[in-house]
């Protein structure tokens, strides 16, 4: 998936390939990859490794500082929040939420965007024109306002978050898929398939999609960070993942009034966001360099 050439060789077996891949990375990338692995592991194992119940608070133990500060308690390593809930446990549980949002959004936006982009690129003509105008509109419209409106209608919910962020991000896939499709739609092998009577749908599935997949995977990686930041921003505005679910964004939002008195409330989850997003972005850039250098710097 990462580097197609290394898969073809497969001389040293799976572990060998992984080792060679690891060796090919520079130090920042290794750290980033390790962080990302920790993030995924924590997200998956979340319910079994939280030291406390992330939802259960003890009002008498609220706003405890992190363990290494005066008054801290080693059973609450990162301190407690305004309801006396363990911040570390909430960050762990929050990783799971972030990961779920990322996976769902990227799946939905990716499928939708790729479909529209491929169709536009493959068929061209007025179909292309209309679809691409739609993309332009979506790319430049402040979707956050639409997000707020949607949330205002049906109340903040997990489903809403997914829909809203997907609506924001599909257009990037569409644009990329269209561009890549345009490049290959007149290649000899596509023409050959067409003349041999293969249906358009089959051509798209068998010949177009596999060829544009690498570029789309790069976009997907580069979007992980954007999804996490968008979710956090919506939660900050009060239209994100509803409480008491410990999304990192709403944890920062809850803690923002405490910046002068209990800084750990927003610094801890805030750092979790920044570190994770930085790791993902680093990896995304590296991936872009390997698969398609032209994509570098284009994830906005």
């Amino acid at each position: 998936m990462v580097d197609t050439s290394s898969h073809v060789r497969r001389s040293g077996g799976g572990i060998g390939a992984i080792y060679r891949f690891w060796k090919s990375l520079d130090w920042p990338l290794r750290i980033a990859l390790a962080l990302l692995l920790v993030f995924v592991l924590v997200a998956v194992l979340g319910p079994w490794i939280t030291p406390h119940d992330p939802l259960k608070g003890y009002l008498r133990a609220r706003l405890l500082p992190p363990a290494w500060r005066d008054g801290g308690d080693w059973s609450y390593v990162f301190g407690t929040d305004r309801l006396g809930r363990d911040i570390l446990s909430r960050i762990i549980a929050g990783a799971r939420i972030s990961l779920t949002v990322c996976v769902l959004v990227i799946a939905i936006a990716g499928v939708l965007g790729t479909m529209i982009g491929t169709v536009a690129g493959y068929f061209g003509g007025w179909c292309d024109r209309v679809l691409m105008r739609l993309v332009d509109l979506a790319l430049s419209f402040p979707v956050i306002l639409l997000a707020l409106l949607l949330a205002a209608i049906s109340g903040p919910s997990f489903t809403n978050i997914i829909i809203v962020i997907s609506l924001t991000l599909w257009s990037q896939y569409a644009r990329m898929a269209r561009g890549e499709t345009l490049k290959i739609r007149n290649e000899d092998y596509v023409d050959l398939a067409r003349t041999s009577g293969l249906s358009d749908l089959a051509i798209i599935r068998r010949h177009i999609l596999p060829n544009i997949a690498p570029a789309l995977i790069v976009i997907a990686t580069l979007q992980v960070g954007i999804v996490i930041v968008l979710e956090a921003s919506l939660s900050f505005l009060g239209v994100g993942v509803p409480p008491p679910a410990p999304s990192w964004g709403s944890m920062v939002a809850d803690g923002r009034s405490y910046i002068a008195s209990a800084w750990w409330l927003c610094m801890m989850p805030g750092s979790a966001i920044v570190i994770t997003v930085m790791a993902v972005n680093l990896l995304g850039d590296a991936l872009a360099d390997r698969i398609n250098p032209a994509l570098r710097g284009r994830n906005i």
Binding site: R133, D136, L137, L139, S140, F141, P142, V143, I144, L145, L146, L148, L149, L150, A152, I153, G225, V229, A232, S233, F236, L237, G238, G249, V252, A253, R256, I259, A260, C266, G270, I273, V274, V277, M278, N281, L282, R296, G297, R298, N299, I300
Partner: protein, 307 residues
């Protein structure tokens, strides 16, 4: 070129019309404005009367047509929550604050971002390149609301160098503009750096060097102009990012702009204002994109033949 502009303008109008329908429908289902206008202790009879006064007992299509014809005349109705003031008047009063903040932020990010990007590309793999990449990485990884709070705490509360919030003097611009601009700064730095690297390795730059042009001319004229094309294509997106960011930044820094107005009126279900503000913002976008399209044709000769 005029043909392109004309086609784009017509498309823009259609987009605007579509948007007006979407916003109109959305705002009608978000809640009943009548409830917002009723004071404590109001009765059923008060409610019915108000519903009639506002024309809300009409069929939805009739309501939309009334809305549209009024809107074309610049009348978006009166605010539900801001004591009956005309919606457009509220927006126009807030627009300068938003535009000036976005303007300052954009100008700052363009200058610094291009400078950073060019130097980073020219001194590829140097300390400056590393710093530029680090800034680009951080800029795209830090949520703006978090950054705003941290900057305010450090520079206003702890160091006392700048005001925490407010609007009026130039000092008030520094923190909000920095918060608003960091993401775009990162994006521009990345864009310019990567396309500069590409340009510096290209044939025509090699040719220019062979021709004996000075390094300064090669970099700042030939290479840079070509590297700016992707920046121009993304201008519309940057503008969108600015307005999106404005909602958050204006709230954190108490900036009296339309981002905060939009946010507050959505939460307050003040739909005349919501409709007007969303349509005004959309129009701004469409105009910005139109300008970008035209600019694009002007600076990239290859585009002229297409259309």
């Amino acid at each position: 070129m005029f043909r392109i502009a004309a086609i784009r303008a017509i498309e823009a109008l259609i987009a605007l019309l579509l948007m007006s329908i979407v916003i109109f429908l959305l705002s009608r289902v978000t809640g009943d404005p009548v409830a917002l206008l009723l004071g404590d202790g109001a009765t059923e009879a008060d409610k019915i009367k108000l519903t009639q006064d506002l024309g809300l007992d009409q069929p939805i299509i009739a309501q939309y047509l009334t809305f549209l014809s009024n809107a074309l005349a610049g009348d978006f109705g009166r605010s539900v929550t801001a004591g009956n003031q005309p919606a457009l008047h509220l927006i126009m009063a807030r627009l300068p604050a938003s535009l000036s903040l976005a303007g300052v932020a954009l100008a700052f990010t363009m200058v610094v971002g291009i400078l950073f990007g060019v130097i980073a590309a020219v001194r590829h793999n140097s300390i400056i390149d590393f710093a530029a990449r680090l800034i680009a990485l951080i800029g795209q990884s830090v949520p703006s609301f978090w950054l705003g709070i941290v900057l305010m705490y450090v520079f206003a509360v702890q160091l006392g160098w700048l005001p925490t919030s407010g609007y009026g003097q130039w000092q008030h611009y520094v923190l909000p503009a920095a918060t608003l601009g960091l993401f775009t700064l990162a994006a521009i730095t990345r864009l310019v750096r990567s396309s500069m690297l590409e340009a510096l390795g290209s044939e025509y730059i090699k040719l220019a060097r062979v021709k004996g042009l000075s390094e300064r001319v090669v970099i700042w004229k030939h290479a840079l102009v070509n590297s700016l094309i992707p920046v121009v294509t993304f201008m519309g997106t940057f503008f969108a990012v600015m307005i999106t960011g404005a909602v958050i930044v204006e709230t954190v820094f108490s900036w009296p702009g339309i981002g905060r107005l939009a946010y507050e009126s959505i939460l307050a279900r003040d739909f005349p204002v919501v409709q007007a503000v969303v349509l005004v913002i959309t129009s701004l976008f469409i105009i910005a994109n139109l300008l970008v399209d035209i600019l694009y044709v002007v600076i990239d000769p290859r585009m002229r033949s297409r259309g």
